[in-house]
């Protein structure tokens, strides 16, 4: 997926919108545009199909990466979370420190439904997501009562309230400190066991049915998010980010749009949280703790807030380092014996914090922004020489 397809921001939204201004054949343009959306979704699907094979099974590459199937699934789940979170942070400019409430809340809702009603994965995802949407509505209503900085503080506060609720008063539902254990995830459509490997080529590429199930949601999440960004909402969100007061004074109900941004991103977090329960068959109390909200902030900002795929990149890197690189005690420069750092597992969180501060300070558009600038630089160099 190229940067151009992936980033429907001000600059590259132009070519299509340009023609609408000049007039032109609407129908053919519509086709063309559908094509563009189709391209993004198609490339995403190809990526999803190849990712676990490259990561966990392909010769040479996977030996180097040392990835494994379950981590590939987890990356997609957090990826869905991050895409939704970025709609709020990167595009609307609202920094929520309370998204653990929707992630963890949906995880619990899905788990509790599985234990008491039905373990059908689709029912779990639906109920978890529905819970997240309703809860985002309430929490957004409260947190958006005060503008600006209060939003971050209040989302953080009310999400913490959820954590303490789950820890103690609601322990009869949530199993308190121990987390929700013994979640029985049923089979998909009554026949497919999610843990089982897919037969033949599908299995070689995708691995388990669970990955395929999550992968479908991931592709759908990309498609929906991309469409939202190209809808009137995408423009309104960016307008609110750029100049909230002006948006109000052109006659937009900024408050309701912000609430919608919050609910939409809560829904994404809800889908991801439900899938997390299906993936692990367990809901740790930790999933509601504020550090979880902090993690999604860090991943999104590191990868690049305000771009479609930057946050997914951030998720991938973060989880890869957390789960694989941090187990390497002595970090060397690849293919050499030069020791970069001893005891890397001990220091990685500190290094992460330092890198995070540096990114916020110097490159607020994150790694994706850096990649974009390098591309521009290279293409200008090449173009200049011709």
């Amino acid at each position: 997926m190229s940067e151009k397809d992936a980033n429907p921001s001000a600059k590259d939204a132009n070519p299509t919108a340009n023609e609408s201004l000049v007039g032109g054949d609407l129908l053919s343009r519509w086709e063309q545009l559908r094509g563009r959306e189709g391209t993004v979704v198609g490339l995403t699907a190809i990526f999803v199909a190849l990712f676990p094979w490259l990561f966990a099974r392909a010769p040479v590459i996977s030996d180097f990466l040392q990835g494994y199937q379950s981590l590939a699934t987890l990356i997609l789940i957090w990826g869905i979370f991050a895409i939704g979170f970025d709609l709020l942070l990167g595009y609307t400019g609202l920094l929520s420190f309370g998204h653990a409430a929707f992630w963890g809340g949906a995880a619990y809702a899905a788990g509790i439904v599985a234990k008491n009603v039905s373990g059908d994965p689709i029912v779990m995802v639906l109920s978890g997501t529905l819970f997240a949407i309703l809860f985002a509505w309430v929490l957004g209503f409260l947190s958006l009562r005060r503008g600006g900085i209060y939003f971050s503080i209040l989302t953080l506060a009310f999400a913490q309230m959820m954590y303490f609720m789950a820890a103690s008063p609601l322990a009869f539902l949530t199993n308190g400190e121990n987390g929700l254990t013994g979640v029985d995830v049923g089979s998909l459509f009554g026949v497919l066991h999610l843990e089982a490997d897919i037969p033949s080529v599908g299995g070689m590429l995708l691995g388990t049915w669970l990955y395929a199930f999550v992968g479908i949601f991931f592709v759908a999440a990309v498609a929906v998010a991309y469409r939202i960004l190209n809808s009137p909402y995408g423009m309104v969100f960016r307008a609110i980010r750029e100049n909230e007061q002006r948006a109000e004074f052109v006659g937009l109900n900024v408050w309701r749009y912000k609430l919608m941004a919050f609910i939409i991103s809560g829904a994404f977090a809800g889908i991801a949280g439900s899938l997390f329960t299906i993936h692990g068959a367990y809901v740790p109390l930790q999933s509601l703790f504020w550090t979880e909200s902090g993690d999604i902030v860090v991943m999104t900002v590191l990868g690049g807030a305000g771009s479609m795929f930057g946050p997914v990149l951030g998720v991938g890197l973060y989880l890869y380092i957390e789960n694989i690189v941090s187990t390497i005690q002595v970090l060397t420069i690849p293919f050499t014996d030069i020791v970069l750092i001893q005891d890397f597992g001990y220091y990685w969180h500190l290094l992460l914090g330092i890198v995070f501060v540096a990114v916020v300070w110097v490159v607020p558009d994150g790694l994706w922004g850096i990649i974009g600038r390098v591309r521009t630089f290279v293409s200008e160099k090449v173009g200049g020489e011709q």
């Binding site: 942070l89 920094l95 303490f164 001990y346 916020v360």
Partner: protein
């Protein structure tokens, strides 16, 4: 025990718990109100205050962390609690000045979200540094026995039970926490209300642009505001340390209640921070003894109610609210 004595115990415990919130909230509130700066690293200042207080006052055994691995089994000056109470706020004051100069100032003109992100990152860095150096295990911060004790002068005993009317024996140290807080907050209040420095601070809370237009050089009061806010967080760390566990996560854990105190009290209002802190302290203390399962939740419920009914905070001024 009678109902009356129960109530008095709850009140005293609540005031003590509230005192810690007040110390943090007053600092946060004047920084937020005057500088319009959102400091998610304020908890890190509390963390620094607690550890510094611990290592100045006592000599404690380490059980993990890099210092321990490097052969350090105990750490601390053992200069006593009074020394900590004087030195730590100064130290954290300086940390606050540095933080203002090198972290906050480059971000005054950047969006609120960037301020929050960078201070959040800084909080992670500080927390991780402490974890790496001193380990993640909790350290023992014994309550001080005496303060004002130096040399052969025995000082004033501050620990152990003290006999109070109605309630009988009560841990003396908790009363000292309330007292120290009351004195310090009163001092800051007088400073802000009755000095030229305070005038600039108050005017800045109302309208920083106006103050700048009037030609008052605002940089110095700003940096001092930051320092004072930091020093108060340092004090909170020293006096609060012996009442709670000491580990690297205490800073981030106290940040949320501290911010909520500011929000329900009203930004920029010292009186608001005091009222907010006391309300939270009393709520928590009451729930701890009446409905322990709900003790952590009550504070948030109150915050929600206040926000719904009075969004600018209990003593907040609508015009000031950003």
């Amino acid at each position: 025990m009678s109902v009356l004595s129960d109530i008095v115990v709850i009140l005293l415990n609540g005031l003590q718990q509230g005192a810690i919130y007040v110390l943090l909230a007053v600092g946060l509130s004047i920084i937020l109100g005057t500088l319009k700066f959102v400091n998610f690293a304020h908890g890190a200042l509390y963390l620094i205050g607690t550890y510094a207080g611990l290592f100045v006052a006592l000599n404690v055994p380490l059980s993990n962390g890099k210092l321990y691995e490097w052969g350090l089994t105990t750490l601390g000056l053992e200069w006593g609690f009074f020394a900590a109470l004087v030195m730590v706020p100064l130290l954290v004051f300086v940390v606050g000045l540095l933080m203002e100069r090198f972290v906050a100032r480059p971000f005054y003109d950047r969006p609120d979200t960037d301020q929050i992100l960078v201070t959040f990152g800084l909080a992670i860095v500080v927390q991780e540094l402490f974890r790496i150096l001193f380990g993640s295990n909790s350290l023992p911060f014994d309550q001080p026995e005496r303060i004002l004790s130096f040399g052969s002068f025995a000082g004033i005993p501050v620990s152990g039970p003290v006999a109070l009317p109605i309630v009988g024996n009560f841990p003396q140290w908790r009363l000292w926490v309330i007292g120290i807080t009351a004195v310090l907050v009163a001092l800051v209040y007088l400073l802000v209300e009755y000095t030229d420095f305070g005038l600039v601070v108050r005017a800045g809370t109302r309208d920083a642009e106006m103050v700048r237009l009037l030609g008052i050089k605002i940089t110095r009061p700003y940096i001092v505001v930051f320092g004072i806010g930091a020093a108060l967080a340092g004090v909170a760390g020293v006096v609060g340390g012996p009442l709670n566990v000491v580990n690297p996560t205490i800073g981030t854990n106290i940040l949320v209640p501290a911010f909520l105190t500011v929000v329900i009290g009203g930004v920029g209002s010292i009186a608001g921070a005091v009222v907010g802190g006391i309300v939270f302290g009393l709520t928590t203390a009451a729930l701890v003894s009446l409905a322990p399962a709900w003790s952590q939740v009550g504070l948030y419920a109150i915050a929600a109610i206040v926000l719904l009914t009075r969004p600018q905070g209990l003593l907040g001024d609508e015009e000031v609210a950003p």
